[in-house]
């Protein structure tokens, strides 16, 4: 009896949603100590920048939670807490490694939050979502097409649009990721009326083909993986998926045979130590310095990986390992896995198959991207230079991550629920 009672109270305690004020306070403490560490180490020279960036970010967090928690009386803030926390780590790295780019990153984060809120609003109405799918698909193809024509080449991939002498550079392929998931998901009656995947296969093929032409192989791979997930969820047909995978494999082999220069990008794969001062320079440094961080990290500003090129973008995982420690780095990765498991468990109770498919596709996209990043930099997979979601520096990627998280958030029915409309009579 006693154990049963204990079990019941135990279960009860966990069923309560996270008490956000406490955890938000703890998160603020985390970010303030990060700020103090940067201040002590003096890696950010301008005090005004340092205090403004952290002040605005923490204020934005509190305003978000105040509006949604107290004014709109929503519950369940786990997803936002995770997103804000990871973004905070990324902001800390940027502020400390690239002092002059801190403001840009802050603006990107704020825009990401706006994207998140707008996406949640768009997703609240199933009818609106269905109407928007075709225009979004056309816009996505147009965005990629324009990039292909007028895009600029940075670091070997022609996927950037630079406006006004490098003042503003956008990566449309990141934003198209959100559209890709949006177009892929559909409600059950839609799936049953048009049972073939042809239209979606054409759309996905066009997207992935254009990314290949831009030589952005990492993103193309992410799109392909997401396509497989969505196609399987839509049709439940393992045979078609198998067929598509085989075709893609043959296509990939064909490209490597007839266009051997593609393989040149991956020549250091599994041989980084032989090119330790050449093509494998960044990865070798990352492998050495990640280990030196140990369990608890060296503290922000004490690392040596920060002097390597693209430390907070392509090597973000190494930065987290070295300066925050391997415990935090692994917990972060675990969180991405948790989001996928959460989407799978919740998909049965979603309001529509649209939300199930979208959430599962979005969370597996984030996980796949994180895996590609981590295994890429550690030389277990070919290094394609994709970003670590939320943590890597980059405006387009930040907006994409927040947009994708909105899909995961929307699967929960409680997202759109007010908790006290009625006063006690």
């Amino acid at each position: 009896m006693a154990t049963k009672k204990k079990k019941a109270t135990h279960a009860r305690r966990y069923r309560k949603p996270v008490k956000w004020p406490f955890w938000l306070l703890l998160m603020t403490l985390f970010q303030l100590s990060c700020m103090l560490q940067i201040y002590i180490n003096g890696t950010q020279e301008s005090m005004v920048t340092l205090f403004t960036v952290y002040g605005v970010y923490i204020a934005a967090e509190w305003i978000y939670f105040f509006v949604f928690g107290i004014i709109l009386r929503r519950k369940s803030f786990e997803i936002e807490l995770i997103a804000f926390f990871l973004t905070g780590i990324g902001l800390t790295l940027t502020t400390s490694v690239y002092p002059d780019r801190a403001y840009t990153q802050l603006v990107a984060v704020l825009m990401g939050m706006i994207v998140f809120i707008v996406m949640l609003w768009v997703l609240s109405d199933t009818k609106r979502v269905i109407k928007l799918r075709t225009p979004v698909a056309i816009l996505a193809l147009a965005a990629l097409g324009i990039t292909l024509i007028i895009g600029d080449e940075i670091n070997g991939a022609r996927n950037w649009i630079v406006i006004g002498d490098g003042a503003l550079s956008i990566q449309p392929s990141e934003i198209v990721k959100v559209a890709f998931v949006f177009v892929g998901a559909a409600t059950l009656e839609h799936l049953q009326s048009t049972r073939s995947l042809t239209k979606y296969i054409l759309f996905a093929g066009a997207c992935i083909g254009m990314l290949f032409l831009m030589k952005d192989f990492g993103t193309a791979l992410i799109f392909f993986f997401t396509f497989i997930v969505i196609a399987f969820l839509r049709s439940g047909d393992i045979k078609t998926i198998f067929l598509v995978c085989t075709a893609a494999l043959l296509g990939g082999l064909g490209i490597l045979t007839f266009r051997p220069y593609v393989a040149n990008r991956f020549q250091t794969y599994r041989h980084v130590w032989e090119y330790s001062n050449g093509g494998g320079y960044q990865q070798v440094r990352l492998l050495i310095y990640s280990v030196s961080g140990g369990l608890f990290g060296l503290g922000i500003g004490n690392g040596r990986l920060r002097s390597v090129y693209a430390a907070t973008e392509d090597l973000a995982f190494g930065m987290v390992c070295e300066e925050f420690g391997i415990i935090i780095a692994f917990t972060v990765l675990l969180t991405f896995v948790a989001l996928v498991v959460y989407s799978i468990r919740y998909s049965v109770a979603a309001r529509s198959t649209f939300y199930s498919i979208a959430a599962l596709a979005a969370s597996s996209l984030l996980l796949f991207q994180a895996a590609l990043h981590v295994f890429g930099v550690t030389d277990l997979l070919p290094w394609t230079g994709v970003t670590l979601p939320f943590i890597s520096r980059g405006g387009s990627s930040m907006m994409c991550c927040w947009g994708l998280v909105a899909f995961i958030k929307a699967i929960d029915v409680r997202t759109y629920r007010r908790y006290d409309k009625i006063e006690r009579s």
Partner: protein
């Protein structure tokens, strides 16, 4: 100051790790524990043999194919993917998904979609079914004439027959006639328990009943907050609280 800074730098590494692990794990566990519980939202009664089909999903596919949620495998006049029954913001809808024999609501063929209400008969081919919404999907107007979003309403689900009682303001449970949920049983007091709304959410309190009120198997003293999925037991009756 210097000493403080060096101490801070030394300590903060452990503190930061601690906070990060606690925060992320707490969120992750919370995400896992909040498992959605499903309840019977509506039923379809096959009028041919009076068999009942319970609907627990927001979207249900109907057809002859094995992969449908409701597989009508014996009926030759039903298309493989015939129709979809879906709960939307406005209520229940039936969609004809390009079936050969069409979908009829109360004898009238629908073109693509039609909203249905409690008691409607729906036919797919030669299968005729009666639709019973379990109190779900009925648009409820409050005093201001606004249509309340029914999916968000708090309710007590009687576990014996899965009927739902929608909560508004306060709700008395007891044997007396004036109670909102009237349970004419001897082991239930005249005014047994009350479920009401406060600033912190829904609460349950025992009104000094003789046999007591139980919340998840524990006796209620004073007022307790309610969370989604809690079970309130009053005498022989059990209610699940949903919100």
């Amino acid at each position: 100051m210097e000493a403080f800074f060096s101490q801070f730098e030394y300590l903060s590494r452990y503190v930061l790790t601690g906070i990060a692990v606690l925060l992320l794990l707490r969120c992750v566990f919370s995400l896992f524990r909040l498992r959605p519980r499903r309840e019977v939202m509506a039923t379809l009664v096959n009028l041919a043999d009076d068999s009942e089909i319970e609907i627990a999903n927001w979207e249900t596919s109907i057809g002859r194919s094995r992969s449908c949620d409701i597989a009508l495998r014996k009926y030759g006049t039903v298309s493989r993917f015939h129709a979809v029954l879906a709960l939307r913001k406005e209520g229940w809808f039936i969609f004809d998904t390009e079936s050969k024999t069409g979908v009829y609501v109360n004898g009238e063929q629908i073109r693509r979609a039609r909203q249905i209400t409690d008691g409607d008969t729906i036919s797919f081919g030669n299968v005729v079914m009666k639709f019973n919404s379990n109190g779900y999907g009925e648009a409820q107007e409050d005093e201001n004439g606004e249509v309340a979003d029914f999916t968000n309403a708090a309710r007590l689900v009687n576990l014996a027959d899965n009927s739902a009682f929608y909560l508004r303001g306060s709700c008395l449970i007891g044997r007396d006639r004036h109670c909102n949920i009237c349970l004419p049983m001897r082991d239930i007091s005249g005014e047994h328990a009350e479920v009401y709304l406060t600033r912190d959410g829904w609460m349950v309190s025992d009104l000094q009943s003789e046999n007591g009120t139980y919340l998840n198997g524990e006796l209620v003293f004073g007022a307790y907050p309610l969370y989604d999925g809690d079970i309130i037991s009053v005498g022989a009756y059990s209610f699940m609280f949903r919100e």
